[in-house]
Point group: C2
Chain length 315, copies 2
């Protein structure tokens, strides 16, 4: 089988992986060239720089690179979406140096409505790494826009977004809650203040945690919460709100362990919050993007499972 | 009775009112000298400029001027708080030109906890303007930090804050929801998009509207919501969330009309949202700050109801 270049190309970073013919990551590189932070020369320059000295081979990209603000828009496919549907809707853009870049489409849930872009590749990877998810699983991909996902019959059956990470950032950096804070970062090792925030979210009941966010300001004014602890308290309140809302909306059941995919420090916060909601301990997957890119490339026959006419697909 | 200068001194503006001896506003002036936007010379300069050519007379100020970042901190009094308690806890600061400025304390609800500063004066005014509120009323003061207030036995019995106005502003100005918007202002005449947002909030049920805010982005991507309509949609979603949360938290009953105090255009949005929640039509009070300042000054005997020793209290 052919080698493959896989690109995880988001808003704030670009990750490139060179896969050998067996799907193993031979080498990985990361740069800060997200689609809003491209170097001079744009997408072309970023790609040729990050892949310099790698062999020419089929290239598959996932993430915001396929958005309207990306290199080429790869229109959303609808839920329920599986690997076959996703692989059948790749969009191709030709780079200045003549190579075809295949771009993975995002997925749309017509319900709310809601959209994802990049997470579908993680989910395809998770399905491949964990065959037990095929019959059904609930996954959470925490982040700027957390995704709560219902996998069923090896498909992305439905999902919903909570803007927790972005809400946290804008409240700390631009609202009264972060006023007088010199450092708005949380620490890797969170503490009791995070727990207090989670408990306040749980206690908010059906009214929800928006009824409690101003209380963090009041707690500071009263001297009951040090200003430096606001980030952890607010983190707990907003992550707790995700669990509260997910239970209230029926996205998860209280007796089924969910699967977390993402950054370890952030996922540890979600695990802690689950414990404070008396929920089963979630399992954790660090990253499934590489596996997802490889599997989608295979399904689209980019890796040479079936012969392809165009020369540049073979290293 | 003596004349009085009343100051409604908030974060972003300063309003000064000269009352005649009967409590009528003889003249009112407004400047942009909120406590975060003071002119050179600070509080003293702002006060003497806005009161220039007014007779020397007792001066009472309410609002953020009494916060820790204000001229002099006027510590919170606890709920239940009435006019007598508030008037008994004025704090005094002497200006450079020798006058005493009396400052109204804020009110604290130890529950959540929660705090208000400036609204207590509006509430004292509303109680005076509407004796029927003495037995009990639910009031909403919409704004940057909306206050939902329980008046009982002519006291501020309890209250809660929703950061709706601030949340709206930070989401539109600093999050993906406002990306690609050239104008993030709403219009005075809101339209169907506002209604759609309110309905989405109501439909969110116990899960709450944070599960829906990202959908405004998805609606734009799908072409179902023009980007220019996002401010009105988000306004509807967040104001709708206030009503949803207020009902879920038991702050209001579904069969009792609430009272709105504040800016007319904003209060019209709250009235429209109440209608979409099938709630009784709220009544509206434009502004009760002037009446509140006068009544608190009377209760504190600043207006000469009782003789006072210090000379500068008499014009």
């Amino acid at each position: 089988m052919s080698w493959l270049i896989g690109l995880d190309w988001g808003t704030s970073s670009l990750r490139a992986m060179l896969f050998d013919g067996e799907g193993n990551v031979h080498e990985a590189r990361q740069r800060t060239w997200g689609i809003r932070h491209l170097p001079e020369g744009g997408f072309d320059a970023a790609l040729s720089a990050i892949c310099s000295d790698w062999p020419a081979c089929p290239t598959l990209a996932a993430g915001m690179v396929g958005s309207r603000q990306g290199w080429r828009e790869a229109p959303y496919v609808d839920t329920p979406a599986d690997i076959r549907i996703i692989a059948a809707h790749l969009v191709t853009v030709k780079s200045q140096d003549g190579r075809d870049i295949h771009i993975v489409p995002g997925v749309r849930d017509a319900g709310a409505p809601d959209v994802m872009r990049g997470e579908e590749t993680q989910l395809i990877g998770a399905l491949d790494l964990h065959p037990e998810f095929h019959t059904g699983a609930r996954l959470v991909l925490p982040g700027t826009h957390s995704k709560w996902v219902d996998l069923r019959d090896a498909r992305i059956a439905g999902f919903a977004t909570m803007m927790t990470g972005e809400l946290y950032a804008v409240l700390l950096n631009h609202s009264i809650l972060g006023a007088h804070l010199t450092d708005t970062s949380t620490t890797e090792r969170f503490d009791d203040r995070f727990d207090e925030g989670v408990r306040a979210a749980r206690a908010s009941g059906p009214a929800g945690a928006l009824t409690r966010i101003f209380s963090s300001r009041a707690l500071v004014l009263e001297g009951r919460l040090p200003a430096a602890a606001v980030p952890d308290y607010l983190s707990g309140l907003l992550i707790g709100e995700e669990w509260r809302a997910a239970l209230a909306a029926g996205w998860i059941d209280s007796d089924q362990a969910v699967v977390l995919i993402g950054d370890e420090a952030l996922c540890l916060r979600y695990r802690r919050a689950a414990a404070l909601f008396d929920l089963p301990d979630p399992t954790w997957i660090a990253d499934a993007a590489a596996r997802g890119l490889w599997r989608i490339a295979q399904a689209a026959s980019l890796t040479g499972d079936r012969p392809r006419a165009t020369k540049e697909f073979h290293a």
